[in-house]
Symmetry: C2
Subunit: 430 residues, 2 copies
């Protein structure tokens, strides 16, 4: 498998992939829920029973990446194991259990002239994804696209190309065993960047682009794509500890929001704390964060409250620390004198991803929820909950921080559009 | 008024407009329904009672445009009269009566861990509009933006700049009389194209661009805007007369879809008719269309059915006639041998706007509704119904033919996004 020769060599080739995907998307739009679920259950089975080729291909990717000096965290994201493949299989099975969004009647009404109007949910068409490192994205995106009736074009990172190729072989087998066109998935098996540039201009064939990766990839796609692209996955997330906060709750939430998984976009970056509770709250927060290895970048008031002898890792913050997505065991900390000051800080430095207030004061909670302009706003909970699964969507292709089309976690419904269906009995417009 | 000197002279000026709009949008997002309706009712009143300055300005625009040789249909679109202003006032009043979309809870759920999640409707922020000729667009866009909590930046055509300036004076007065910031509306009073180019790059300040005008304007905006833009307003619309059609109904619908208003985007461009009913149906259709001054561009089968001596205006179609948006009293006509052939024709030549089937056969209707990929699909009704008012939205900023965010007529809800609101009691993510 890993020795197959590269097949997508020219821009003509990738345009051919686009045409094939568009063609397939017309069939997928009308595929029954049963057929879609059959593909997903086939895939679940294959991911559990036919792991050998995938693991072999992944071993080659891993060894090459290691030899090239890829860092440990990237190597870990690249690595597949039997257990990880079983986990991916479980996710595909869960997608098969989700309700089919296609065909849902969103709303219907009878007009005064007797016309019956309704909006009916339809797939977007073709979803392209450009992603890095993690080969399980190949399976995730395919599963969500198929269930929502979309074809997909996958362009993974060059460091996982053998793993992705082996996984795509399973995707194709799952499709053909269910009698569904293999063209439902298109795979760009040549890592040439020129092909990515070509893909970004294929708005005749790709209806939505989903970049999955670091900030620079997301920005590059947003700036260069001719078709709509999901902007997101970048979170500068604040937790504001209000003067009325339950401090024990605040400590637990701040710790969870930072430490549970520091490398994901919904992880806490900055703690804001009201000056009235800073003297009591900050030492408690600093202690649990330090115990988990977090380095604190603090404003002067925080430093003076913690004191020079505190058993915590705290250094002075510089201006760059506000508005930084750390993605690591680092957090910025600042004392504010009011809810207004917290709101202003979040407006200035936030990225519109996930923001939380810890408070027992309903009026403060209401203002925070109303006034913070972000995809997800929380009262008394950890921002790490921003996730399609946690929000009841079952799964997600990504998290949008834009306001157009979809905001926050994007699940099956967010991969659809709608059409207006109008049924008349001969009505003409006066 | 019309002699005011131009104010927006430089790119810095237009960026300042953007900043002011963004600033205002934060206040508008939290404006009460009452305050918004007060602005709209003030405006209704002003449009009825203070017409003099607007009509004077419009007369100057009209005379200048006439002197410059603008064609009759454009001159007519440019012209304001007391009656037309009263009509615009009525529309603003209707918008004041529509439900406020902002704050609506779209869906809510309690997660197994007790978190209460909901999606709450919020404004997009700042809507920019670039439009031509018709000065009433100035008022329409403002009214819909204000009611949906959005600030707007208006850039009308240079041929109506005095009229727009006078109208914007009324908009500002309606705002300030209600105690609402006048920055809710920003007006680009310099017709320099360089300022449009700058506007297209202001994605920090403009959340959505709505081009209103011809195909070349829409395409220019879509290709050059850094922010999301509505693609639409271009309709190559088909009406397919099935073999089971009620031919009397077919004649009435085809006539209405073409003739009622031939210059709008939902007007019929091509008639497709099944060969089994062509001999009976085509002469009837050709007769009523000809009687209304429509020129028919026909395929050979249609011409041979109509015969050389038919009292109709029919000439041979050329390849360009299929897929053409005529916007005039011209229609293309073609005979097809099956529903499949009709579907294929529409897929090849349609623009995804409005498509209709005339049939008494439920199976044919179902296939047409399922398989045609367009913003609006009809059974037994005129495509001229594609309109926000006719679909029960109350009003529209435009008609989208894209699948992302909104498809078909865009009303108040389509000018909104949502935020996820999560209320917890100290939940942390395991």
């Amino acid at each position: 498998m890993a020795n197959n020769k590269m097949m997508t060599n020219t821009i003509e080739d990738i345009i051919a992939l686009g045409k094939a995907a568009k063609q397939a998307s017309r069939k997928l739009a009308r595929l029954s829920t049963e057929d879609k679920n059959r593909v997903l259950l086939n895939l679940t089975e294959l991911l559990r029973s036919e792991q050998e080729d995938v693991l072999t291909a992944n071993r080659l990717d891993y060894q090459e990446a290691k030899a090239e000096g890829l860092d440990e965290s990237l190597l870990d994201r690249l690595l597949l194991t039997g257990e990880r493949l079983n986990g991916t299989a479980d996710e595909v099975q869960r997608v098969s259990e989700l309700p089919d969004p296609v065909g849902e009647v969103i709303e219907t009404a009878t007009m005064p002239n007797g016309l019956i109007t309704s909006r009916r949910r339809v797939p977007l068409g073709v979803v392209g994804s450009i992603y890095e490192a993690r080969p399980n994205v190949t399976v995730d995106i395919f599963g969500l696209c198929l269930k929502s009736g979309n074809a997909c074009i996958l362009r993974g990172g060059k460091e996982t190309i053998r793993s992705n190729e082996a996984l795509v072989t399973l995707l194709r087998k799952a499709l053909s065993d269910a009698g569904v066109t293999e063209d439902a998935v298109q795979f760009v098996d040549n890592p040439d960047r020129a092909l990515v540039d070509a893909m970004l201009k294929m708005d005749d064939y790709i209806d939505l682009l989903v970049p999955r990766g670091g900030a620079s990839l997301v920005r590059f796609v947003a700036e260069n794509a001719a078709m709509p692209a999901v902007t997101g996955g970048i979170g500068v997330c604040h937790t504001y500890v209000d003067r009325s906060a339950d401090l024990k709750m605040a400590v637990e939430i701040v710790h969870n929001a930072k430490v549970r998984r520091p490398s994901i976009c919904n992880a806490l970056d900055t703690v804001l704390i009201h000056s009235e509770v800073a003297a009591e709250g900050l030492p408690l927060i600093a202690k649990v964060l330090t115990a988990s290895g977090v380095e604190l970048h603090c404003d002067n008031r925080t430093l003076s409250i913690l004191g020079p002898d505190a058993p915590v890792t705290a250094i002075p913050a510089n201006e760059d620390d506000w508005g930084k997505e750390f993605l690591s065991l680092t957090a910025a900390v600042r004392v504010v004198d009011s809810l207004d000051e917290a709101l202003e800080h979040i407006e200035t430095y936030g990225s519109g991803h996930s923001e939380a207030i810890i408070t027992e004061d309903d009026a403060a909670a209401t203002r925070f929820l109303d006034e913070v302009d972000a995809a997800a706003v929380y009262v008394n909970a950890s921002t790490q909950f921003t996730d399609g699964g946690q929000f009841g969507l079952g799964a997600e292709v990504g998290i949008s921080t834009q306001k157009f089309h979809a905001r926050g976690p994007m699940g099956l419904k967010e991969l659809t559009s709608y059409k207006w269906v109008i049924v008349g009995k001969g009505q003409i417009r006066p």
